[in-house]
């Protein structure tokens, strides 16, 4: 309706636009008398600076884009929540850019870039070289969570963890290899002989790493991965995939899941099929979402601390803003094995629990 601008305030206070502007930016550099006059005029008028105009000039919006997919699972929604809080504390706001499917982030991300965000966090989809290049050109830091930039436009080679192209974005990932090794060791120690992996049909980067990690760790002990099940999109995807996996002629006796949500599906399916956990089936998740610790589940999982990831995101953004030329950095967040009740204790040396529960 009736917008109150800096001019209205200036007029009412009997000062220039510049003075009003200074009061609302570098508060200092304006005399106390002027300052008071401006402030009371602004209050009387209900004036608030227009961030669009300010951002246009300063070339700084205090907006951070977040490219996410469906934030329906616990891990993602806690991540968004935690990141939003951390940014709010620093006077920044989150602009949501939703990526459909698991495809390229380009479209969603470009839409957010048009608002001149100061930085972008990518927690979904594939970061194409084109998108990387554009972000680099407009000079905004990009932090990838749970992924690295795609190697090639056409077909990212998932066998190669680190793309050969020069990095154009910082990456933060769980130490998926270590997590998979912990899971494999615990499963084997618990006597599992037929170990399966449960991932998504649309394999994201971390999913692939966890599967490969499991396969490699098993191989190192002379074992092969017995089966891999893939979760289709949809509400009951994990449950359905688990049902199929556990109904196979020779069902697995141990499953490592790409995340806790998938593991919950396995637990539900096991219950529905009357399979005893952990005696007949051991289950391990990834993430350690709050629900994993619920007395009704007590899911053994790999703890991947969100706060640590968020802190690192913020640190990388700041670092790159300070020095745009710094070499791109890949950070592995350390993970911990949380032994609970969905796995058997080893018969040999005791299971290594590195975390004390509250």
């Amino acid at each position: 309706m009736e917008r109150v601008t800096i001019r209205d305030v200036a007029e009412r206070a009997g000062v220039s636009n510049a003075t009003v502007s200074r009061v609302f930016s570098d508060a200092h550099a304006v005399s106390p008398v002027m300052r008071d006059r401006v402030i009371s005029a602004a209050e009387a008028l209900g004036y608030r600076p227009n961030m669009l105009a300010r951002s246009l000039i300063r070339a700084k919006t205090n907006l951070v884009a977040l490219a996410v997919g469906e934030t329906k699972n616990a891990y993602d929604s806690i991540f968004v929540d935690t990141l939003a809080d951390a940014l709010a504390e620093r006077g920044k706001h989150l602009l949501l850019a939703k990526v459909r499917g698991g495809g390229p982030v380009d479209e969603a991300l470009m839409g957010a870039l048009d608002y001149q965000v100061d930085a972008a966090v990518v927690a979904a989809g594939t970061m194409t070289p084109e998108a990387c290049a554009r972000c680099a050109r407009v000079g905004i830091p990009v932090v990838l969570c749970g992924r690295v930039p795609a190697t090639l436009p056409a077909e990212p080679d998932l066998e190669e963890a680190v793309p050969p192209l020069p990095f154009l974005a910082d990456s933060i990932l769980a130490d998926n290899g270590a997590g998979a090794r912990m899971a494999a060791d615990l499963l084997i120690r618990g006597g599992c002989r037929r170990i399966a992996y449960l991932g998504r049909s649309h394999r994201a980067f971390s999913d692939s790493e966890r599967e490969r990690g499991l396969r490699d760790s098993l191989a190192a002990q002379g074992m092969a991965l017995q089966a891999t099940a893939r979760i289709a999109a949809g509400a009951d995807g994990a449950y359905d995939a688990a049902l199929r996996l556990l109904s196979a002629p020779e069902p697995p006796d141990g499953v490592f899941c790409m995340n806790d949500d998938a593991a919950m599906g396995v637990l539900q399916a096991a219950q529905a099929l009357g399979i005893a956990v952990p005696d007949e089936l051991a289950v391990i998740g990834f993430d350690n979402i709050p629900m994993a610790a619920w007395p009704g589940f007590r899911l053994t999982t790999i703890d991947y601390p969100i706060s640590r990831t968020v802190e690192t995101v913020i640190a990388r953004i700041d670092a790159r803003l300070a020095d745009p030329a710094r070499p791109p950095q890949v950070t592995r967040i350390p993970v911990r094995l949380m032994v609970r009740d969905t796995t058997r204790r080893g018969t040999g040396r005791p299971a290594v629990t590195s975390h004390k529960e509250t």
Copy 2:
């Protein structure tokens, strides 16, 4: 870094700024030849219109503010997800404004308004009259979800559903009274004699309505609410509150919960205490989050469809944009009883299930 502006494109294409601008706005009104020249120049340069500048002039940002609290529970995160999708489909983006605690939304909301959002959706905190007034003055539609504007600045009178002050925002709420009645009826029919309510310690509007609805429905049948437990903030709040409630000297034999998350806590606590559900304890939730239908839970609950709410949010925004003077509207979203396995079937007339599961 090197920003590409409309001027660069105009220069390269040998046309005026105005022509470039027209190509990127009302595509029509520019000759095909010019149009092509502009487009190829823009592509060569990698030009994209600056939304800050465009929004400043048009007084339209295509940004919608969403005031939310902790989006850690399933209902809220699906709501955010669904709303973001619906907005994206209409070319709008979500700007997150986090409200701390359950207090006034003012600070978070004002911060978002500074970016000249086209509308605001409030799904957390208390909408004060001051905040309402400001939104009305700047002419942006506000849609409240699960709440109505606070009556008085100091102490909102929760006994009064509809504040006497003139509404300055549209509201969308579940039909909490109907939901509570369905729950009460089912509990009573199932033979419950000691019925309790589980809500939050910081009572939000819908929480209060649900509690009052339960109390009133029980009273109508000559029964009194036996107890009310309140969930403290924190991860295990619901579980802890349920543990206390169920450990009382004379524990309830039926619990209606403010939402499904709370109900899950009750289920976990019952299991931990060895209380049989539904034989010794009947449990009813609210929302019908996907997890409620899991085979391991099969929680009886009140279905509160998110898609319906989101559609209504969009409709209210559009309606008020079209006619700012229209009277504020309070919409009650119909709810349905989903009878699953955490309640006993009635001994009298059969339980009324109005929903068929897929």
